[in-house]
Assembly symmetry: D2
Homo-oligomer: 326 residues x 4
């Protein structure tokens, strides 16, 4: 990689919603963009330095990135989320030129996209058979191959526009017109985006199995410091039934005292807790902070305890604070 | 359906792990067994009375049933889980006779099965390309078709044994030798299996969005009555980002006072809470119950409150309710 | 006691703040009012039927009623609080006619009154010696006795006005001009004041010693049902160090579903919990109730659970209990 | 005060249970011992340097020290508890020589001692009238005065033994043969007794009025760090009805990481929280500590968070820890 021009991976192929997300990153239009066949591959390129960062779907994706991404960043070499991007989701039905809706017998797309267009399909071509595809774009491009065994594909408007060999049979066929997918830009550790006041922190917290009530203890680490959670999802570790980790998005930045304190509490309860990054929220919404959970309250509390522990007559040192910003 | 002979649906095709699970039900060997192409279809047959019950995977499945099942029973017409079955998971690699391991270029199976055999594949045929299939059995049976565009399939031992046209290239290729999948037998409401003392209750609890701390409140309904949770999974509702429901398995039967009381508390906090059934645990493990969460403690507490509310001089009625307004 | 004319006891002697509280009860002006020498005596008269009810101080009293009252109603035969009364507290310094402030060497009053006039005493007659008295009124009346060994007394304005043999040396000598004492009217069980919507419930909850976290469990019974506490005080049982009970005032009436449900939870955790009454608040302030803790939410939850437990095909009964075994 | 010989105050007069407690302090037998007429006076002598330390009763006292002590150390200049002492409580009834039990008409003692001998008095001299006294020893010594207006006194065995003018009418007249009173030795700040592994920390925590659930938040600061409470008592502040502080004894030393962390949390929630000392437990019982609340868990958690916040490439500094022992 050259220092002057970044290289980005994304969950491909070209034309997916994920590439649309990547194009929202300021310098990505001019950067080298490398499609990956799956989330694991994209993240492995980040880990081994082949690319600077990778864009992958994290929530409500049509490309199957959700659980794959959650699992891929929870294990393996450490990674950091440095940005999130929201993309409105809209589907089109495409076919080779000349094919009419009445001709469609078999439709291919990614399973998640299929699930999100069920009502339209039932209403318009109820007899159509579903053919699973590895991505929406791959299904669309497959129509251009010689021996394609399906007649139409559901995909993003982007791929339809860029491929002259495809004609659009129907637009906006998604069941939920307000559907949005959230994507994350992932890099190696070493970069911690600055606090903006409207940040988000993503964590992976394995559920300790050795004592009951552990989940409540985990949630209490946030609640007792006034940290709100915007997402919590359980994922099986795959080791044995009932073994979970939780993927959590919390409002705030690790540079906020309350978040740093909550993280310390989590590490104590579940030592394998992973920090996956603090980064600006896409919606720029700052969470309200009450006085007793503000930075000042934590700093004042720490100074008070330090004063109790200091031997009599010894003055407070400058810079002796345990502040996460020290 | 005739009354004398039950009809069961299962997530097909024939030969899947799900059919193996169904065969553990006492009368299923002689019953009519109908394969369904997906979990939704199987459950819809139960809802419309086409079958008596359906067997579908619920946890750690290789057939993709997990989230599909969680979502399918969480919505639509009400259903009841009446039994759970555990099946050890073991994979084989099959091909047409004459094909050797060295010849394998493309391998088909369900995505979850593929994920569970990654280590073996990387070690033995690292260059093999993955072809997504709708189920392990369908991928295996596809090999028998004329124009099959892959060379081998990963499936359950059952389908390999029953299909003379398939030969086994390798056995026990799963990465985790202790893998187990949990299946559930689902019927319409109206049947509540009797208490055995080692029971499990399954619930769907939407997360109320209107106040913070709702998840802790939900967990507290169980914890404060001494009810242990054996599984908790979040699922997006698909309505908008951040809208979740929780799928929960709790130790005990709704006929246990502590569980009935916890359910009342859940309904109050999240009125759309769904009861999906109380049924015997497959592992027959009874959860310990402390004196202050035993039936006797709840009954005694209710009688005490009723005594306070009863007008002076009025004797206690038999079977009188603890309702303050009754 | 005659049915037509009630008899009330109060913590005497005549002229105490407690009698002033009793005079706020509508029919007390015409009723027989019997002074008791201590709280235990007053409550024992209620228990044995000698009087209809007794007025005693419960919070921030100058007559020493606070802990004595808390302990006296927590044990012995069951009693019920049926009313609360608030009385503003104002102190005067009295002496025999002719005695000047400069002559005062020894001052008698109840210990709590003494504590509440410390600033004034230190500023005006700092050398005065304190002589403990059993009540403010008794100390004042003692001045009229022959061999009185002190020169002045601190008491309520009421007693000074009614005793011609006493002259007032100083008024409003209390340190806190906003001081208020709360009194309660106590009767035997059998009367439960009607719900007004602005009620208070008083409880005695022994702290179970057999498990840690019991106090949090107790508080959670209220918090989880949206019941606010307006007072919580610990009291040693006197059995051994570290053995406590809690005296609690909670907003609401046992006829409110949320309070009845909280009481059932408390009884389960601490079976010796005592109900001391539900009665209108003196300040008439109704506590806000959220939808999920309103009566309707509890009734709806109970009906839902009853529907789950009801055998198939059986209609809901009128007045049917939510008991899982009923 | 000379450095070579300490001076101790105690709640007098001589012969009280409090002096018996003071005599358990190793060097107190040879030290100057100054009786104080009340707890406030004793503590004010400590504050102004007149004495090195003061012994006062703190729990279940017969001398009225309990609430007076709790209130006196909660306000005013800061003080530190440096030791606790347990004394078994036993009462005797004394009179002037020649007086027989049948002659006793009026009995004086401290109100708490009177309360603890009620059963014996009711059984043996039920008609005896109670005369309040400022302390058990003062009531006993009063019998030796010329114009004493009572016939007998209840006091500690110590005072009876040391006063030749008193004869013992009855021994062991307390209702509870296992009664024990706890006393504390109080000094000025500047001395923090070393950790022994079986320590106790005493705190004063005002209840924040500005938000509901504050008491649960306070308790959670301890519970979430595995700190057990051995005593919790509410006290009115005297400012207005419903304004409280809590006097708390917690197992452990402020030098323990979990206690230091809990104190920081308390200060954040209730900034006027007071630290009254960490000192060895009289019973030498060490509280069990779970791995996730041990010092190591806190230190490891802090180091982990520090690593996240450290700019890339910057090494961890030696001594950069926020440890309470740093």
């Amino acid at each position: 990689m050259s220092a002057s021009s970044p290289t980005y991976a994304f969950l491909g192929p070209q034309g997916t919603f994920t590439e649309a997300a990547l194009l929202q990153v300021p310098d990505a239009g001019q950067a080298t963009r490398v499609p990956a066949s799956n989330v694991n591959a994209a993240l492995d390129w980040v880990r081994d330095g082949s690319v600077h960062a990778a864009m992958v779907p994290i929530e409500n994706s049509v490309e199957g990135g959700v659980t794959a991404t959650l699992d891929a960043i929870a294990g393996g070499g450490e990674l950091r989320i440095i940005r999130e991007v929201l993309v409105p989701i809209s589907f089109v039905l495409v076919a080779r030129p000349g094919v009419r809706l009445a001709d469609v017998r078999r439709v291919s797309t990614h399973g998640h996209a299929w699930a999100q267009c069920r009502l339209w399909m039932d209403a318009n071509i109820p007899s159509a058979e579903y053919v699973p595809g590895p991505s929406t774009a791959a299904s669309a491009l497959g129509l251009l191959e010689e021996d394609c065994h399906y007649d139409a594909a559901i995909c993003a408007p982007l791929v339809a526009r860029e491929q002259p060999g495809l004609s659009v049979l129907a637009e906006d066929i998604g069941d939920n017109p307000d559907a949005v997918t959230r994507f994350i830009l992932v890099s190696r550790p070493g970069v911690l985006p600055a606090r903006t006041g409207a940040d988000k922190t993503t964590l992976v917290v394995p559920l300790p199995e050795d004592r009951p009530g552990a989940l409540m203890e985990i949630l209490d680490q946030f609640a007792s410091r006034g940290v709100n959670l915007s997402r919590i999802e359980s994922r099986p570790t795959g080791q044995y039934l009932g073994d979970y980790f939780f993927s959590i998005d919390a409002d705030g930045h690790v540079g906020d005292e309350r978040m740093a304190d909550a993280l310390a509490g989590l590490h104590r309860i579940s030592p394998a807790t992973r920090f996956l990054g603090s980064y600006p929220r896409a919606d720029l919404q700052a969470a309200p902070v009450e006085p007793h959970t503000a930075d000042q309250a934590f700093q004042s509390a720490r100074a008070w305890v330090a004063g109790i522990l200091r031997p009599a007559g010894e003055p407070a040192e400058n810079g002796s604070s345990a502040s996460p910003k020290a």
